[in-house]
Symmetry: C2
Subunit: 204 residues, 2 copies
């Protein structure tokens, strides 16, 4: 499948590397083309699916550079978090009535935005089995077909269907993004980023 | 042990009921005394340990009514969440650089505030085994002795020591309170409030 990965940081590198390893036809988009990467718009034009792996604070600008016409009708998997380090410590630049996922969907109404993978470290994103247990990854978005397509790729990353939890429409990104505030504390308590959460429910 | 439970809602009722069942000498505090409850100040004066189970939006006022002198030196277990329904949907009235737990510690500097139990439904708080699995409860606060005392009570509620995760000082309340935004979505996805999360880490 032709896939665009926007962003060349750790997240973009992990996802583009894994997708290429899986045999997909990947183009990596960056602000300026350089060895191995093309401009955002060229990558987005190539992809049938687009991953947003840019820095959350720069995501709307990066997607504008990618071009609304290059995103229209496509599944846009938003992996970014609205992290804000301007105040010294990690915080979010959104409040609890808002999310980056919603801002992206609002800014690009013809894209089919699915928020996913933003709750886990980039190595774990593409290698679910590297941490034992029935830990989960979340998806949310307004388009069921786009979520199904995302689930397919998650399956290729090692996430079985029963460990992909659908939280509903894109407003659920408020939940998965704000969870980052707990994730950061769990990283401290567990001694590193290689962890994830499972959900246990009462037997019915 | 003499324990004060401030608040007569579902959370206060679950906690005070369980503590009484365990044989503790419990007084339940409310804004006005009525059958079975005393005023906030009378409850707080009685308790060697104080639970804040009031509505988050009203917690600082309730604790002021309880009296700083009645909280000084005591372990104050803050179970409240800064939930705000004024906008229609659930949101928090704190941003990610702040938390109710920190506001309470700042307002009552002589109390030894421990944030705990706010990430789970009230029935599960006092009966950890009602949901299977190694799901966890968090503690955070600035005073290690107060956290140890809290762990003791959590043990009586069925939480073994290895399932009580210490996230550090009271600023970690930003994490456990903002997790509520994910909790609310998980409640929708799992069909009810009787669930909790476990944490899996990569083997070292």
């Amino acid at each position: 499948m032709r896939i665009a990965v926007l962003g060349t940081g750790m997240v973009g590198s992990a996802i583009s590397g894994k997708l290429a390893e899986l045999g997909h036809d990947v183009r990596v988009g960056s602000r300026t083309a350089s060895g191995g990467t093309v401009e955002f718009a060229d990558a987005a034009a190539h992809g049938e699916i687009v991953f947003n792996c840019t820095n959350g604070a720069a995501s709307l600008d990066a997607l504008a550079a990618a071009g609304a016409n290059n995103l229209a009708g496509k599944t846009l998997i938003d992996v970014a978090n609205p992290l804000d380090f301007s105040g010294g410590g990690p915080a979010l630049f959104t409040d609890t009535t808002d999310s980056l996922g919603e801002r992206i969907q609002a800014a690009f109404p013809d894209a089919r935005v699915v928020k996913s993978l933003n709750t886990i470290n980039c190595n774990l994103m593409v290698d679910a089995a590297s941490v034992p247990g029935d830990h989960v990854v979340f998806v949310c978005g307004n388009d069921d077909a786009a979520k199904a397509q995302t689930r397919g790729l998650l399956g290729e990353f090692g996430w079985p269907a029963e460990r992909v939890l659908d939280l509903g429409d894109i407003t659920a990104a408020r939940g998965t993004e704000h969870y980052l505030m707990l994730w950061l504390r769990l990283m401290g308590a567990t001694g590193g980023p290689n962890f994830n959460i499972s959900v246990s429910t009462m037997p019915r």
